[in-house]
Symmetry: C2
Subunit: 422 residues, 2 copies
């Protein structure tokens, strides 16, 4: 097919779902435009390591152009999408440009949700972007500096108070890493304070943490967290958040200068922009082949899509699902272009992982349940294997190996001091 | 001497001068307070490599507390100094605290100066802090992205126009690195633009670039810059800077979306704060032993001090001078505490270095003049040797080795898109 006659595929979002869609279309007779607001693909599963000063932003982010350099049929645009017209088949960009498409793939993922408390956003930062991670890193490190300079016991206790709202994998990783920072990395760096006296609390509304895992593994993770000095509070909702702490549903008030949000997410607003029906958290319902009903040329993949798996529950918002859905979308576009039937998405649930800090992780691999160092090795292996870009891989391995032996946090930088709350 | 009777030395600024003062006082019977606005010591000679996407911020910045962890007689404060009282012998901090001192060391360095054109600051970013470096990196990378999306030839040319004002080492390093980015790192990453068509101009008011070097070496450096595609314009002052370019004294108008400032610096305002006399650019005149006249317990070191060398010219504002002055200040404080005579500062001018990009540098080592690859090896060796913190050293070496073979720029991250002008 001559190049200018090829169907034009527009992919919005260069996260796992979008990027794997594009890469899997490499040899297909289509021309692709990939649109993202940022110039990098972000390896979100390691974002908490940037937030807790173990990795540099560049270690977990690869420039999209560089990742796709060898792919000839794709054009990359750094742009914000401001409109979607599914009838005229166009995408409107922030600079006024309108891009026509034959196939549209929506893969813009999710962002935080504050349960209808938008005022909490400025007080309890969530962790979804590199800017979030840098802001959290600044906030955590500045809390210890503020404690060193505080004039009263009350003030010091508040400065050294950390509350993480949400006991999923991100909340557990953040709580464990902050405990490590306090107990090991900073332990001997201050004169008037003892960082190991920091109070780190993990608050979860459900009856236990890590609901996506079997209870036996979640219990082990909780035990490890507690060994690191994290106080875990389940069945407990935050009902009020301000600059100085959190109030829980049972009336308890926790004084804490640092409150982090790892509770709930909502889908990015593409569904609304497209005029499509969405569920309560903004996700777009898709058919088993990941197409949108009545719009056979529109696909949705990753966190933005909602599709029930064989167990009747929606697929979880994790990288593995996004990657596999991206590949399925690409295969179905290829089938459609070739005049063949599309096929339904099947999830191959390789492994469910969470790490607590130190060298402790929990893993469920098929029916096999692992915890401790073995699970941590699996965690390392999986994350290295999927980390995009050869150079990032060796750097990150090197840094982990070093950190493993020293508990050293290389990236203890406070940038933009005084602006950490923005 | 009992610890609470020891003289209290307050050092303001944790750059080369301040940090080397503190480290050299390690075994002296004094108690030290080191105050800095940031939590990290910055290796400024490599800042341009952060600005041009070769190194991550953490590679050239070491947490002050971590650098000084093994030193028992120092306390570190993250704080802004808002007042200096040389009579009452106190330092006032932004949180209202007042710190008494027996010896005061001022080492707060320098910042940009816009020749009485403060309105240029928002249009032509200078390079002094990590935040500057990140902002410049964002601006340079966004310029190529804007060009890819531009609608007219004029717009594209302006987006791909870069003007660096100032032909000292920083200006030369920035110009050379941006040319490398355009010619090698990004050459094949775009569809509608050819990054190698970027116009990179270096503008210097003096009759030649690199005035601190012998003319023969500066000529070689200029030739190398021109080989990389940089157009060098000497004897040429910027008389007007706006969002779309620069006007020169000879009337020429250069259209360029990116204008960077590497021209002149001024000392930080400590002299004014202390009520001391300063020169035209805010530096505090010191006596040969680095003390301030009439204030025998007040020392100034690094870029903030002005002292004439044996050749009648002030010592240059480079790291070597700051390091050696810091050591001299420490020795003189120790002498004063011991009731001995202070000694004058003597500069041991080890080597003057500048790098052009690629693997080309120029070096003057005593009377020996080197250029090309040999000088570049000297440059690498010196910078690695002085880079504070073992871990940073191996990381940076590793990244240079990798970059040397691949021209790969690992840190091509645009953060906070749309806010690069702040």
């Amino acid at each position: 097919m001559p190049e200018n006659m090829r169907p034009h595929v527009v992919v919005i979002g260069a996260g796992f779902a979008g990027l794997y869609t594009v890469r899997s279309l490499k040899k297909q007779p289509v021309s692709i435009t990939l649109i993202d607001r940022t110039n990098h693909h972000l390896f979100q599963p390691l974002l908490y390591q940037v937030a807790t000063a173990s990795l540099s932003p560049a270690d977990i982010a690869a420039p999209i152009r560089s990742v796709l350099r060898s792919q000839r049929n794709v054009r990359v645009l750094l742009a914000e999408v401001v409109g979607l017209d599914l009838t005229a088949k166009t995408v409107a960009l922030d600079d006024g440009e309108s891009i026509p498409w034959d196939y549209l793939v929506l893969a813009t993922g999710s962002t935080h949700s504050y349960f209808g408390h938008p005022e909490w956003e400025s007080k309890a930062r969530g962790l979804k972007t590199l800017d979030d991670a840098i802001a959290i890193r600044n906030q955590v490190l500045l809390a210890f500096e503020a404690a060193e300079r505080s004039n009263s016991e009350d003030e010091r206790a508040r400065d050294l108070g950390f509350v993480i709202v949400g006991g999923g994998p991100t909340g557990v990783e953040l709580a464990g890493s902050i405990a490590e920072i306090a107990r090991f990395s900073l332990a001997h760096d201050y004169d008037t304070i003892d960082p190991t006296q920091a109070s780190i609390r993990l608050v979860e509304g459900a009856p236990r943490i890590l609901m996506a895992f079997p209870e036996s593994l979640a219990k082990k993770a909780q035990f490890e967290l507690e060994k690191l000095g994290v106080r875990v509070q389940v069945g407990s909702m935050a009902t009020h958040i301000d600059e100085e702490g959190v109030r829980l549903a049972d009336g308890e008030r926790i004084e804490a200068a640092t409150v982090l949000w790892a509770a709930r997410v909502q889908a990015s607003p593409m569904g609304k922009l497209a005029g499509l029906e969405t569920d309560r958290v903004g996700r777009i319902a898709v058919q088993p082949d990941l197409r949108v009903a009545d719009h056979p040329n529109v696909f949705v993949a990753g966190d933005l899509a909602v599709l029930k798996g064989p167990n009747g529950k929606p697929y979880p918002g994790v990288a593995q699902v996004a990657i596999q859905q991206g590949k399925r979308v690409a295969a179905n576009i290829a089938a459609s272009v070739a005049g063949e039937e599309t096929r339904p998405f099947h999830y191959f649930d390789l492994v469910t992982l969470a790490t607590v800090g130190g060298n402790y992780a929990i893993a469920e691999i098929w029916k096999l349940r692992l915890s401790g160092f073995a699970a941590w090795l699996v965690w390392i292996f999986i994350h290295i294997a999927y980390l995009i870009g050869f150079r990032n891989r060796i750097f990150v391995m090197f840094q982990w190996a070093y950190g493993y032996f020293t508990y050293h946090r290389r990236v203890r930088l406070i940038t933009r001091p005084g602006k950490q709350a923005d």
